[in-house]
Symmetry: C2
Subunit: 224 residues, 2 copies
DNA sequence: GACTTAGCCAAACAGTTGTTTCAAACAGAC
DNA sequence: GTCTGTTTGAAACAACTGTTTGGCTAAGTC
């Protein structure tokens, strides 16, 4: 083992690559810049990861494995039976908390690195896309399903899914369209209490939406 | 004027550049590929536009000027006075129609070029961002404002804006996150009647959301 | 001490990319 | 026809980029 570098070079490369890939994308981030930011030699990236693409995939796998672990640990959902016993107020509080977490991760502040990586992956999907969907998106949506189904039992499975997408969509909007929204609002960044105010709006808006769908379903019986 | 090309070379370059910039982004699209697809010489791009970046900006300005004209012509909104005289059902039909138009443009099928360009511009904003916001996003949102305000007069201006964002956000979600949603759903493309079904869901969901906000506002008086 | 191995570095390599150059081709004015 | 300004084409250019090479150091093994 060499002791030349004070920190593990591989780790520093991963960190630098994460930031640059998130900031400028796969094509925009240059191996030389990554190496420079990591305080490593140009050849180090290829030595440790084999190729630029392999480094990129490793960045994605590392980050989304980590955030999955974090979410599982921090915001563990009660099991289905416990969920069924919860009061309406408790369920709503649970949904509200998960919404706030999503906003914190995706919208910030600070602007999250996961959101940036996902956004770029949606522009130019790589081999890591299935991993991101399965490790990050699917578990989150499954848990939202459970909560929403407990809150509005009259909704069909497809309706619950669409409602989950509607709620996540509102959150993603402020992340993905940040430059446009900021210019539209005439600001240069989302303020301090912005996400909290946003959480309140999205929560109320979404609950109203689901309520309407649930009650409409109860009232009128429609074909498909 | 040369007649060598059967079509104006400049126009063909613009078309080819649009497709490639939308498909692979500014960095991903190569001038050589654009020229080849346009059936033009490599030097033609620089001759007609000066540089790759100028070509990119011209692509954006052209497209968003065109779509603005199209929207103004096709989906002209009644003026404020006429709007005030409309019945609730008429206003709702108006909102529903605009929603369907947004879905057609952004989600497709076919997957729209405007959505792709916007998405990439949000990843790496260029000098054309202000143009896009002012020519495409702002006019659309202003008109949604008018309709929503007429539908729910008790909402504040800030609330109406947030509701507009909530509705647009749901639409954008299916465009921006398309690869993830498709994988989540286990399909390889949105089906035929998908956007129509989506329009119905988003419309009901959003109306429920606004209703809840409006009625909550009427019932309880809250501090900020 | 001799040998092996992992980590790191400077340099070089081969391919690509945006841009420029300069001559040829062309249309229209005369 | 000649002349002029515009458009096109082939080639070259200079800079950049991902990757490879060969050698160096330091630690571990015998």
């Amino acid at each position: 083992m060499a002791t030349r570098g004070d920190r593990r070079t591989r780790q520093r490369l991963l960190g630098a690559a994460s930031e640059l890939f998130a900031a400028t994308g796969f094509h925009g981030a240059k191996v030389r810049d990554i190496a420079r930011r990591a305080g490593a030699n140009l050849a180090a990236a290829n030595y440790h990861f084999g190729s630029k693409e392999a480094l990129y995939l490793e960045v994605l796998r590392t980050h989304f494995a980590e955030i999955r672990a974090r979410l599982s640990a921090e915001a563990r959902l009660p099991d289905k039976a416990a969920l069924a016993r919860m009061s309406r107020a408790q369920l709503e509080a649970l949904a509200r908390m998960r919404l706030q977490t999503m906003l914190d991760i995706l919208v910030g502040p600070p602007p999250g690195i996961y959101g940036r990586l996902i956004q770029r992956e949606m522009c130019d999907p790589s081999a890591a896309l299935p991993h991101i969907v399965d490790e990050f998106i699917r578990p989150n949506l499954e848990e939202m399903r459970l909560v929403f189904r407990a809150l509005y039992p009259s909704l069909t499975a497809a309706e619950v899914d669409r409602c989950s997408f509607s709620m996540v969509g509102q959150v993603m909007f402020y992340h993905v369209m940040r430059p446009a929204v900021l210019r539209f609002l005439g600001r240069d960044e989302y303020g301090r209490g912005f996400t909290r105010q946003l959480a309140e709006h999205i929560f109320d808006f979404s609950l109203g939406g689901m309520e309407r769908l649930a009650s409409r379903r109860r009232r009128v019986r429609r074909a498909s």
